[in-house]
Amino acid sequence: MSNQHPTVIFFGTCLINTLAPRAGLAAMRLLRRAGAQVRFPRDQSCCGQPAYNAGFDDQARRVARAQLKALEGEEPIIVPSASCAGMFRHEYPRLFAGTPEQAPAQHLAERIVELCDYLQRILGVNWPDLGPPVRVALHQSCSARREMQVAAPARALLEGLAQVEVLEPARASDCCGFGGTFAVKQPDISEAMTADKAGALLATDASVLVSQDLGCLTSLEGYLRRQGAMMQVQHIAEFLWERIASPEAEALKTGDAR
């Protein structure tokens, strides 16, 4: 560990906030288990990526400006989504280029770390696996692979668990077809992509689908459920927490809660 008790800021993401708050909570528990002091600024909302990707920069900037304020400070900002992390890291400096917020946007960008990257590469966690044997299909988002290059640490976290067999689907680097508003604006082509991805995931014969991006998971889960597939779907943070948490661990956790 680089620091005995680092303090970090946690950014929950709007999707986790509305659809899977337990994944957000699990991520914060993981950070605390790894020895970090976790701050959760109440004024955060959304990184602004949906409007930005749609081409509505003014609207995206309004929302992004609010995050600059909510996430002020010097601590690393941990984001449980490579997609939102990519927005902060790579797009904020572009979005605010030539505006008074350019410097704060750059400063924020430099503090951004994706959750798995932080746990694995920076903190070097190595947790004992307390769960039963399980086969997991790992889906890694385009943002994780390309924009943030944090696919390896997520995989390493799973592979560090003794009882977890990690399976990679065929054509793993193909987009799942979600792409935010793309799934709604181009439903036909999005469905064709999702169908292929879902087929490859089912072909792994894993019982759980795990990813570090909830956007892809929401789309894939919706498709798998419509197909009547039984594969369970979980954000990686929630999956990891369930593997490493035991009754004693729970007690420990309550004990060091501030």
Partner: protein, 465 residues
Amino acid sequence: MSSPLRTRLREALARAPARRNIGRAMAGLVDKRRAAFPDAQALEQLRDQGQAIRDQALANLPALLRELEANCRANGIEVHWARTAAEANEKVRELVQAAGTTSVLKGKSMVSEEIGLNAALAEAGIEALETDLGEWIIQLAGEAPSHIVAPAVHLDRREVAARFREHFPELEVGEEIADLTALARRLLRERFAQLRVGISGVNFLIAETGTLCLIENEGNGRLCTTLPEVHIAITGIEKVIARLDQLPPLLRLLTRSATGQPITTYVNLISGPRGTDERDGPRAVHLILLDNGRARLQADPELRATLRCIRCGACMNHCPVYTRVGGHGYGTVYPGPLGAVLEPRLHGLAAPGELAEASSLCGACAEVCPVRIPLPQLIRRVRRDRARVSPGTTGRQARLWSLWAAIMAHPARARAVTRTLALLAPVINPALHWLPSPWTRHRQPPQLARETLAKLASEEGFGDE
């Protein structure tokens, strides 16, 4: 809700044989490219070099074009300038008519597709005979190219044979590729020898030496540029590079990115018409330099990167959207991610601009682009420009995003909305199931959580101090 683009994409998805052929061909090209670049570090160095060569050329475009023109003229190549597609077509027509013929040989050229050359020539009573096999097949079928490198990639050999039979009912047509190729060669070569004008595209223009570089695999380009009396080359102004020694790295990048080949069968370097002591080659070489919106792209610091393109097609080969719908799904001359950023710049943001919606911004295109064109960024730029300049097509969206921003930019409102959504989840979640939406056509709707992250966090002592 359905736009022309969405309709075309749906139709393309429904064409099962084409979809299968394109999917298989693209998967093959992806594998071949990967095998052609075994050393990741060497590839990145080569990409650095390629990007630098192209950027240097684009930064000095006017000066390089003047140098090119002077050196071409010194070599005996006549240089013509065309601002628009119409001007380019008119110039070709003049040159063909001056040669006193009504039939021309044509090599594969995307710029000739861009300006609609064949149709313009037909209007003037001039027949253009395609010499590239793929181009000839789709010409017979009356179709547009499906891919910028492999125009007939959507057809398999049985479909090609069927088109040949339809067109030449008197001939015996087999279904083996060797038979089809031999037949095409026999039919075409008889005519090649009779024609006096050849038209080709250009891959690179070398300013320093006044040279046109043209690469190809079938020998058709060489036929077009050596057999006839007159060779007319037509190309965009952005294809110029400064020096001859910059050509090899670009050719390495181009052929390997496109088809995985270390080099093409033919690399033609044309530096003038037939010399007095030479036994073949055209008596006259004309170069038509087309702007058609390119100078405008060059002037914009962000859009200029579009002009780096060396037309390898790797972006479309790797694009999950292109791979499933092919070029005909886009309905444009340049399909795929490149088409999504180039077409709106050549033909306006209104309808061509919608191409930019056919992308999940997955980034596969930028990852393989040999000259590092930031395609996702340029796709977003099209979306941004559309939101700004064509409020008619994006007005409803603008209102929705403004409403969204009015909530998300205000912490108290965002919290209130999140809390309300969580409270109303038991009512909203069942409703999501029967509310019609593009999402629920193929997916179960997501379900809102019944508690907020803020509440869970504070219950566990994760504070804001």
